[in-house]
């Protein structure tokens, strides 16, 4: 009985995850793409829970589906979200090349998984009830992976400072008319 429930939840989460990923790529309106990415991230959080990664699932919902996507939706609404058909614009060989490259990556990974699947991939390690809990993650962050933790905080600080500088720069140069004209001239191919 437990098996059936786990499989049902897995199939539901995996298919909504894949469907919303395809929707992100194929929607014409960037606003709808951002909204379907929220569904994608939420169903990924369900998959993380099935892999007993509770803390990462909570972080996924809070940080990704919450904070990052609020920023995305806000910027998309601010910019007006110009419609952009997936297959339109640019020469057709670019679309053919994109589909070929993505298909090649998918095929490569699936073949490698298929070669390994019978052997090592089906023997999952025994884990305690502590696995993936905030307690264990916090202890690992502050003991074994302290350097990665500190470097991550520096990366976040640099990104915040960079975003502030970018915003201030664009506001200052956006008011000078001649610079905008020269940019427009330069932007034309």
């Amino acid at each position: 009985m437990g098996n059936v429930v786990i499989w049902a939840v897995w199939v539901l989460a995996a298919f909504s995850c894949l469907a919303s990923a395809v929707a992100v790529v194929s929607f014409t309106n960037p606003f709808y793409s951002a909204l379907s990415l929220i569904g994608n991230l939420s169903s990924l959080a369900v998959l993380y829970l099935l892999l007993s990664a509770e803390f990462v699932a909570a972080g996924q919902v809070l940080v990704y589906a919450g904070a990052v996507m609020v920023m995305f939706v806000f910027v998309t609404a601010y910019l007006g979200g110009r419609a952009d058909a997936p297959w339109a614009g640019g020469p057709s060989w670019q679309a053919v090349g994109a589909v070929t490259a993505a298909g090649a990556i998918l095929l490569e990974v699936i073949v490698v998984i298929g070669l390994k699947a019978g052997g090592t991939l089906s023997h999952e390690a025994q884990i305690g009830s502590d696995f993936g809990s905030p307690h264990q993650i916090g202890r690992l962050f502050l003991t074994d992976h302290l350097l990665a933790f500190e470097i991550t905080s520096v990366v976040l600080l640099v990104a915040a400072v960079g975003a502030v500088i970018l915003g201030a720069h664009s506001r200052r140069s956006g008011t000078t008319g001649d610079l905008v004209h020269s940019e427009e001239a330069g932007a034309r191919p």
Partner: protein, 102 residues
Amino acid sequence: MRGPDVAWYLAVAAFLFATGTLGVLLRRSPLIVLLSLEIMLNGGNLALIAFARLHGDASGQIFALAVMAVAAAEVVVGLGLIVAIAQKRIDLDVDKLSFLRG
């Protein structure tokens, strides 16, 4: 009580990564390119967490959390660049953004 094998999760991760690649290569709006990049990063995250479960070693989850922090930083800088480009009245099309000169 056993769910699907790790191989199934890896297949989902591979499909997510390939879908994200397709979006990055195919779409012209930089906003959707950033969204597709998020899908690629999440495919990598899912593979990391699946392998953490396979080996019973939570270091993979630590890596996934670090990837999430880096993705948040990347989104902040990317969206800042997109807003800066839009305020200069340049068309939001990755094919037309061929100059680095600010």
